[in-house]
């Protein structure tokens, strides 16, 4: 269920976004579950369609949900948000490599080396990977 508190200081689109994320996290909304249409949810919650559309858009940017054209909006598969973030990081890396005018081979070598260093550090400090500078 999604509940909107009109008296809350939190904007309605944020209330929707947070509640859908929470439902996904708790497993109440399983991957591949279809979500209500923007129009239907907006009508039920007495909100403007743009408000619900904005919540969906932000959820889609986070990788929590995905829109499949006319088929509707679905909860993304659980691994998808992680993959999407990794893809974004890879794209950023490629952008920097192009800006530095390095070749693909050099870029791959640097990446392999970085991964190797990271792996070694994690092995040395297994309990606290975040403490690695």
């Amino acid at each position: 269920m999604i509940v909107i508190e009109p008296r809350s200081a939190v904007p309605p689109f944020e209330q929707i976004r947070v509640q859908i994320l929470e439902l996904v996290r708790k497993g109440n909304l399983k991957p591949e579950t279809r979500l209500p249409t923007v129009r239907k949810l907006a009508a039920d919650l007495a909100l403007a369609p743009n408000t619900v559309a904005r919540a969906y858009r932000e959820l889609e940017l986070n990788g929590a949900i995905e829109t499949r054209g006319r088929h509707g909006t679905f909860v993304a598969a659980h691994g998808a948000p992680v993959l999407r973030q990794a893809q974004q990081a890879a794209e950023n890396y490629a952008h920097h490599i192009r800006a530095l005018k390095l070749s693909n081979v050099e870029a791959m070598d640097l990446l392999k080396a970085a991964l190797q260093i990271n792996e070694t550090r994690n092995t040395l400090e297994p309990g606290d990977p975040d403490s690695v500078p």
């Binding site: 269920m1 999604i2 909107i4 009109p6 859908i20 279809r34 979500l35 239907k40 039920d44 007495a46």
Partner: protein, 308 residues
Amino acid sequence: MTFESALTWLIIAVVAVVNFLTLLLSQTGRFQQKQALRFWQQVGLPMGTDKIATAVRRRLRRSAAAASAGALAGLLGSVGILLFGPTPLSVTSFWLVVLPAVLIGMAGCDVGMALRDTLFRQQGDSPRMARAVPVSLGDYISPLRLMLAPSLLVLAVLLGAAGLALGLLGDSQDRVLQGAALPILLVALVVIAGTAVVATRVLRQTQAVTGALELAWDDAIRAETFRKMALLGATIAWLAVSAIALGILNGLDSAGGTAWGASLGSQIFNVGYLGIFYLFTYGTAYNYFRYRLWPELTVANAITGGSS
């Protein structure tokens, strides 16, 4: 006036009086109270607050009034068809003209009211609740009840084709084409296609609620609308099956010089009507949605939240 036509007019008059009385009675507090109590027992949801009780009672009153008014309108229409139509008045006309017209009028007005009315209304600063997952027709009505009308329609079409084939062979002497069977089949097609379209519209309707229990009661009213539409579709489709099959049986009887086919067929079809009525009245006819959408919400387990 023959005995048969007098009997038909008498039946029509009784139907008119019963519906008129129901229309009047639906305005009395005692009738509304009994109706709300019966619906509450059939649905099996906790009533919760006075707001819900008042809303449900108001909705049931409006629904009963709309259904009675629709039945009277259907009756009036059928009387017009009987007076000015080509077919002579007989008890068969009651089954083939009056009954479908009354049922269509009754369900049509009731569903029309359901499309315009909402059980609850949004209030300014109160919280608003909505489902995170869309629901479908299958959440409100069991697969057997849902598929009965289309299945009977398919059966009617197949019987119609068989009847036409027999007519071409000369066995049934074109009785299927001569009788009211094909118009009834056409009416059944239109009704079932119409109910499918209306059901989609009902599913798209706004559910303006502030809590889980209000949403559950809104679902109960929706489920009742779908039950009535499915009952209408199944009855009209069975009527088409009966009319076509009786046409074939009459043809076979006249070809074979017997009379048992049509009389046995009539009895089977009457039992069929009772079976359909039973299927849409007992069992999980009223509370199937509760098992699907609100399994944790029962009278013993009052306001506890809902499905997501």
